[in-house]
């Protein structure tokens, strides 16, 4: 209870400090929307240059189905963005500039202290655009869904536990920064793979599909649930839901262990 109160107090302070620059906060929210609109337009221009995207073993994907997938990917990404953005700073410079020292001096878990420092309202820009994309693309007559209770549960689980999976990777690399000092570029490498789950799985060879499903399970939380909903895959949605929850639990536990082990070896490098 004490930790929860502390977390919300910190978040409130973070929001107040961001609102000190109201204009820039609004521009930043718009900026994330602009970034995603640009990225989406790129996909549109590419797919629009051919009659249809016929994927081996899956059939034909139309532009609206790809737009729906794109919108869905933005949801777990946006949720993670809201709560754990401070970890990017840990990966890039907070160890080297010594500003993380103060988090080790307070009687609070360092991970909670660090995450609670920043609430990033820009994530709302991604979530709003993601929902808009899902609605616009989902309402098109040539997008047919396989709506069942199990599929709806799968989508909700994919969003919530998907955000936890992305955050778990962030925690791992932020923890590794205690030893390696700077892990931003390494984490960028993992995070950038979210770009490729915006396309149907069938485009990529088996080795990339296995990598993005079994090791960095971003396809598991985005492409697979959407492909099940759109009828491109016939996996059992309950089993996939259980796999997603299990993957999130395993990765989060692993991330916390890495964070704690690396935190015990933390050395201040700044002033």
């Amino acid at each position: 209870m004490h930790y929860i109160r502390f977390y919300f107090a910190s978040i409130k302070r973070s929001i107040m400090s961001r609102l000190e620059y109201k204009g820039d906060t609004i521009i930043a929210m718009l900026a994330f929307t602009i970034e995603n609109v640009c990225s989406l337009l790129s996909i549109y221009f590419v797919v629009n240059s051919i009659p249809a995207l016929n994927i081996d073993g899956q059939g034909v994907w139309n532009i609206w189905q790809i737009g729906f997938l794109y919108g869905f990917v933005m949801l777990p990404k946006g949720v993670d963005h809201l709560f754990t953005d401070e970890l990017w700073r840990v990966c890039y410079w907070r160890v080297t500039d010594g500003s993380l020292d103060r988090n080790f001096l307070k009687p609070m878990p360092t991970l909670l202290m660090t995450i609670a420092e920043t609430f990033q309202p820009e994530g709302f820009g991604e979530i709003i655009l993601g929902i808009a994309m899902i609605i616009i693309c989902g309402l098109q007559p040539n997008v047919v869904f396989n709506w069942t209770f199990a599929n709806v549960v799968l989508l909700i689980i994919a969003i919530i536990f998907g955000a936890i999976i992305i955050s778990a990777f962030k925690i791992m690399f932020a923890g590794l920064a205690f030893i390696l000092k700077r892990t931003g570029q390494m984490f960028q490498l993992v995070y950038n793979s979210l770009t490729y789950v915006k396309y149907p799985r069938g485009i990529f060879p088996k080795v990339i599909r296995v990598l993005l499903t079994g090791i960095i399970p971003f396809m598991l939380i985005t492409t697979i649930p959407v492909e099940i909903l759109l009828g491109f895959l016939s996996y059992n949605p309950w089993i996939i839901s259980i796999i997603i929850i299990s993957a999130a639990a395993i990765l989060l536990t692993l991330a916390i262990i890495i964070w704690n082990v690396c935190a015990s070896k933390y050395e201040s490098t700044g002033n």
Binding site: Y21, G23, D24, T25, I26, I27, A28, M29, L30, A31, F32, I34, E35, C38, S39, L41, S42, F45, V46, V47, N48, S49, I50, P51, A52, L53, N54, I55, E122, R182, G184, Q185, M186, Q188, L189, N192, S193, T195, Y196, Y199, G202, I203, F204, P205, I208
Partner: protein, 281 residues
């Protein structure tokens, strides 16, 4: 005249060398991105009705993305916008205003130092290696030694124009921070727009909505001179005489934009400097 800006140029160069891990990280990211791009475009071209889409064959589009990744890494790293934003939020901008040097000149010198170092140490060698491989494998057509020299020379001129145009837009964003007092959002928006309209993610020839071809207009904007135009100088078909004219026209357009953007920046700075708020410091 330029002597007083030399220390800033040098500082920029040294600063860009401090992040070796960034260079290694970028290299691995690029390899994976190019690989995934390759599979994506393979699927696109497999479904196309013609082997040429919007003037690009499959091999040319892959070459375009390799050059685009190299150029984007070098050109988008000047960080003038973020530097001005930091000066405003930390309050150190008042120091810059009291010094007897041009604020624009100082920022340009730092950015040139950072970008030139990255370009000469990484961008140019990698471009030349890729260019040689593409010529040997026939992806880029070898016409004559003269055409090859023209292509490389015009590429270098266009890269220099690209660096200055990119920094002019960074500086413009930085001045906008005088009004917003924080530039995180502005810089983020600028990066997305510039990358997209500059052709970093896709050649502008693909920018079509049905029968409306946006590339006709976009090719005349300054953004096109940042990523797309230097690459087209390398990929151009020099067996066609009009390619030479097109490249010369592109260079002329880029130089015109440099003058125009610097003029806009000078006027904007004059107005905005009366608005600047010094925080902290």
């Amino acid at each position: 005249m330029f002597k007083k800006y030399k220390p800033f140029f040098k500082a920029g160069m040294i600063n860009s060398m401090a992040y070796k891990s960034a260079i290694i990280g970028w290299f691995f990211i690029t390899i994976i991105e190019v690989l995934c791009t390759l599979f994506l475009w393979f699927a696109i071209y497999k479904n196309a009705t013609s082997p040429v889409i919007n003037g690009f064959t499959f091999r040319e589009i892959i070459a375009y993305f390799i050059f685009s990744n190299i150029l984007s890494f070098c050109i988008f790293g000047g960080d003038t916008g973020y530097r001005i934003d930091k000066e405003i939020t930390e309050g150190t901008i008042c120091m810059s205003f009291t010094k007897p040097i041009s604020y624009r000149g100082k920022n340009l010198a730092i950015a040139l130092g950072i970008i030139m170092n990255k370009f000469l140490m990484i961008g140019l060698p990698l471009t030349l290696i890729a260019y040689t491989i593409f010529i040997l494998t026939g992806i880029i057509k070898f016409v004559s030694v003269w055409a090859l020299l023209f292509s490389l020379f015009s590429f270098l001129i266009l890269v220099l124009c690209s660096i200055i145009i990119s920094d002019s837009l960074e500086y413009f964003t930085g001045i906008c921070c005088f009004y917003t007092t924080s530039g995180w959002g502005l810089n983020l928006a600028k990066n997305s727009i510039v990358g997209f309209l500059g052709g970093a993610s896709l050649p502008l020839a693909f920018f079509k909505f049905g029968k409306i071809d946006f590339s006709i207009v976009l090719n005349y904007l300054p953004f096109a001179g940042m990523i797309q135009n230097p690459i087209l100088a390398l990929l151009g078909d020099y067996s066609q005489p009009q390619t030479y004219l097109l490249i010369i026209h592109t260079i002329g357009l880029s130089i015109t934009w440099i003058f125009l953007l610097e003029l806009i920046n000078a006027i904007f700075f004059k107005i905005a400097s009366k608005k600047v708020t010094v925080q902290g410091g």
